[in-house]
């Protein structure tokens, strides 16, 4: 467990530093964030015609309100934490890949819920929006990461079995 923990800290630090590089931001993070804005607005348009996405900004055509999906709101850091926890844990690459895929989906489904709820909370009450944005959803997304990781570890074979397969 100690080794897992140290690897986890190292990997998340490395992944975060890579994420912060300008070339990664421009070529990966910003297009990905724009795609989140597009998916969120497409989902909202099912029940709300007044939503429009432009780049990383989602705006309401009925109310003078818009949200910009910025760093911390695109789920990338939560994904890094989960990926680091999966990478650091002893498992086969097949199981790790499955964990990445399902974990990525779980985090970003929750994150789409965060973006959509914040969009409507912000139109309703600015103070509640600040709370939900800065504290509540941050905590819930981390909880999501912890749940996914715990469930993943419970589903994969024990490390001795992993060693036997290798």
């Amino acid at each position: 467990m100690r080794r897992f923990f140290l690897w986890f800290l190292l990997i998340q630090g490395v992944l975060f530093t890579i994420e912060m590089q300008r070339v990664v931001q421009e070529n990966v993070i910003e297009p990905f964030t724009a795609s989140l804005a597009w998916i969120s607005s497409t989902l909202m348009k099912v029940f709300d015609d007044s939503v429009q996405a432009q780049g990383v900004i989602i705006r309401s055509l009925d109310h003078p309100f818009a949200v910009k999906i910025a760093a911390g709101c695109n789920g990338v850091e939560a994904t890094i934490i989960l990926f680091a926890a999966i990478l650091a844990f002893p498992a086969t690459w097949k199981h790790k890949a499955l964990g990445f895929l399902l974990g990525f989906l779980a985090i970003h489904v929750a994150n789409l819920a965060r973006i959509i709820t914040l969009f409507y909370i912000g139109q309703w009450n600015e103070e509640v929006f600040e709370w939900a944005h800065l504290y509540i959803w941050q905590a819930l997304i981390l909880l999501d990461v912890i749940i996914v990781w715990l469930l993943w570890v419970r589903k994969i074979p024990a490390p001795t079995a992993v060693a036997a397969q290798a």
Binding site: M1, A78, Y135
Partner: protein
Amino acid sequence: MSQTSDNNPVGRFVLKVLVWLPLAFLVWYMLAGPLLWPMRPLLDFGFGSLSQLVDHVRLVHGQFIFETTLEVKAPDGRTGLAVVEVNALKYTYNLPLLVALLYAASDKYFTFTRLAAIYLLLLPFQIWGVSFDFLSQLVFHAGPDVARQVGIEGLGRELVALGYQFGYLMLPPISAAAIWFLLNRDFVLELLGMPPDGEDR
């Protein structure tokens, strides 16, 4: 019903976290002033006595107000001293989060001593966040005159940017998750369906 929850320790744990989380957030917000207070003299010492960047640090409604010694020029030619505000709550929400995670794991944390220890464990991470927020505002947002007086250039600017992003985006959740994990190794092993002495994992 009880048999179902016994077979699902992760679900039971998550439910307990969801019960504790709103309560922990409420208490944290109501006690924000006293909880942030110990950070003030530490920031005052670090940025005042040690680096001479700050004349005084005040705490007002969850915001640290840094009254700096750095001169700024207004467009009309008058000069004054730069004042920087930092929302400390952005860096301290890991406290209610960790408390909820710990209370969901075990009732042994229901003591004042342990709560105080948890608070102290998180304090360095919180100070990191507030400090780099302050520095990044000086270096990147207060104008070139202020940035020049701070004297952080080249690689130093990159490190301030990275330190700020890390302190804002990663440290609050990482610190809460890591301390929860370290304090509850046996409980985590139980959630993972492993024996308490599972050192090899």
